[in-house]
Symmetry: C2
Subunit: 453 residues, 2 copies
């Protein structure tokens, strides 16, 4: 009897991005007898927005390369049934049925025993963004349309100076566009970086010919079918196209309609098992809130890395009960502008202040290899500690991919609540071509030790 | 009265390498009133052997660049009195006096209240190595002599296939020498790497034209003033010069003569305060044994990184009492052969077996960036866990400097006794140009989870 029930189990996953695909594959792995169905509104699965700027830039030639697997691969090699071009429009929690709309077809229903909601995030839009030369990037399936708009433009406005805005500024200048970037706050990446670190990126952007407008909120997009002019609090600017990069918000209308409880910033509330407020319904990825291990509270920071892990956990638990837990994040994120790498983890000074964390910090310049070894860069490294000398934040920027590595090391030290003394004595490697003998992280820890070591 | 005693304190450091210079600078910083004297047998301080191969290769043009500071700098900017060309020949423990021999002068005595011994390591030599075309690299002060020998040679034998041997093989082939390398064990880097990882280096060496002889101990160096022929257990080979890279041993004759207790491999026995068996005498650097945090026992692994930290601890404690502790090492080490980077930390399988650690491992190939982003490399990553799924070892090799970064992350996970599940859920960063969305370390952890995640 038990066996038969197991065999009949329907696990349905809504959303074929990082979290959803991870969940579906994992569920099938944990319970090979389950019928696992992945529902995706477009014709691409295992997609993510991270590669889009590099497709625009021409570094990635084929948009199909932006996905990890095709629907056919998932079906054939992972045993997951994939329904593409299928949009979930309703969830009937009592009947355990979801209603889907296939492109050009009537509504259908799909029965589930367990459901994973992985509907992701959607771009925040402002008035006037329905015009045809306004681009709100989120899904690789849209990139062909985007390319056409950009090809026809000479001068492109980028609205928003965080991750996507910076990456798109690179992509657009690299293909010869004039770029004008508007950020409403007085610095780039205000939620991620402190002003001293952001300044390095701002200077680099200007040196690459980008017209940078900080502290300048966009008030209106003017034009008929196309936006022709951008009006800000300070002036107006004629443009040929607009890239909207002011951020994203959780795509949780479907969950809300179903009565699933929402949490921080209207992301789906989940516990560490990725269970929602409704039994049998899990959620993962950009649609859900995340537990911040340092702040010990829920936050909403949508990133592919946590989406993947949350998908794993949701899928495993949907299929097998509480087998995995997602402990949370510490806020690691990486980007780059051309060869200027930018990485951060933990709390910024601003986050520390907002959360009443007593802190002190140091920002230093360090070289990435032995002083006599060629090819090293001088990079800027910032470390933040609380009043117990425990490391709570790290930021780095510079023309060496090493800064991304430093953030990874810092992320683990933060995850493990290491002090600057713990880090100083950690056994980080050295050889002239890979690091200075005093590793940049160790130097930062030393500076913060106030003469102790 | 107390103040006067402090002012009169003599802190003497023997050895101007990484550990000694760190100790001297640190002692002066902790006790600015102390009279800190640094004794160095050559005319260079803050020297290390790590850069020598890159001087030979021509990457570093000036041997004076191989040091961090000049004696003059240390005197002027750090307040340390530096006696160059001065060799310590005896320590009178009871009288608290050391006897030194200045080049071309008579013996002199120097009074100490606290002493730090940082006499480093010396190359292991075999019979016949006194011949004039045999090079045993250890000190930048010797490199001019070395360059002359190498300039005159066409075919150079490298005896020993560990760090120095591999780095010298690169340097010599890069300047057009024919290189024949002998390693007595059946693999390169037998103390550091497992055979599967070493194989990658061996293949690369052969592809660069190096004649590689594994499992072939050198029996005799034949020749009169110069070595002309190398005799091994298998055959004989004519050569023009010989680089001896079979390893180093602690340079502890002076300490032994003074009655300081020696430990593992005749390295100076020290506690975590870097105190030796004799009160007031400290030791640091390659001359001392190290505590292995995983094995919970003393080992001897001489590396610049730990030397520097031990010097810090010895200097601080000599000047200020027990103010700092050195907790030990986990065995991180990095090298490279051309663009093939090699990094390891923790235990190898061999070390695990020798120390009765139950383990299992995985060796996988991973890419270093998103699959669609150009410039990524396929590298080989090996992770070793104990029977509690705690990570105890890591090795990586590949044509991407990222492998050095992976070892640093692994070193921290090992230092903090993290499990593969801890690592899997660690918040490592991602963007297409810096890492795959499933970080290589996370993939390795997953493979070892036997289907758990």
């Amino acid at each position: 009897m038990f066996l038969i029930l197991v065999m009949l189990m329907n696990i349905v996953v809504i959303g074929g991005g990082a979290a959803g695909a991870s969940a579906a594959v994992r569920a099938k792995r944990v319970n090979p007898n389950a019928n696992v169905v992945l529902i995706e509104a477009t014709d691409m699965v295992t997609h993510g927005p991270c590669g889009i700027p590099y497709f625009i830039e021409g570094i990635v030639k084929d948009k199909n390369n932006l996905v990890t697997y095709t629907p056919e691969y998932l079906e054939k090699n992972r045993g997951v049934k994939v329904l593409v071009n299928t949009r979930a429009v309703d969830i009937d929690v009592d009947k355990k049925v979801i209603v889907v709309e296939k492109k050009g077809s009537q509504l259908e229903t799909i029965k589930f025993d367990k459901l994973v909601i992985a509907t992701g995030a959607k771009p925040i839009i402002i008035g006037g963004t329905d015009r045809e030369n306004v681009i709100a990037l989120r899904h690789p399936a849209e990139v062909d349309k985007v390319k056409i708009v950009i090809d026809q433009a000479k001068k492109v406005a980028v609205i928003g100076g965080s991750y996507l805005g910076i990456e798109m500024a690179e992509a657009l200048t690299a293909i010869g566009k004039r770029v004008i970037l508007f950020e409403k706050e007085p610095q780039l990446m205000p939620k991620s970086l402190d002003p001293d670190i952001a300044k390095v990126i701002e200077d680099e952007m200007v040196s690459k010919g980008i017209e940078l407008h900080l502290s300048e909120p966009v008030v209106e997009l003017v034009g008929n079918k196309k936006v022709e002019k951008i009006v800000t609090t300070k002036s107006e600017y004629t443009v040929d196209a607009v890239v909207l990069a002011i951020g994203v918000k959780p795509n949780t209308d479907l969950a809300r309609k179903a009565g699933v409880k929402l949490g921080v910033e209207d992301a789906i509330a989940v516990n560490e098992y990725m269970e929602t407020s409704i039994e049998g319904i899990y959620a993962a990825g950009d649609a859900v809130e995340k537990f911040h291990k340092l702040l010990k509270k829920k936050v909403w920071i949508p990133l592919a890395t946590s989406a993947n892990k949350e998908g794993q956990v949701a899928g495993a638990n949907a299929a097998g009960g509480r087998v995995l837990k997602f402990g949370g994040i510490v806020g690691t994120a990486v980007t780059k502008f051309y060869d200027l790498y930018i990485a951060r983890t933990g709390l910024s000074e601003r986050e520390a202040r907002e959360n009443n964390v007593k802190y002190r910090s140091t920002t230093i310049k360090v070289r990435t290899k032995a002083h006599y070894y060629p090819g090293s860069a001088e990079v800027v490294v910032k470390m933040i500690v609380d009043d117990n000398d425990v490391i709570v934040g790290f930021q780095a920027v510079g023309k060496d991919i090493a800064v991304a590595c430093y953030a990874d090391i810092a992320a683990v030290t933060i995850d493990r609540r290491m002090s600057i003394e713990d880090l100083f004595f950690a056994d980080l490697g050295y050889m002239p071509a890979t690091a200075p003998v005093w590793h940049p992280l160790i130097v930062a820890a030393r500076v913060l030790s106030r003469g102790k070591f």
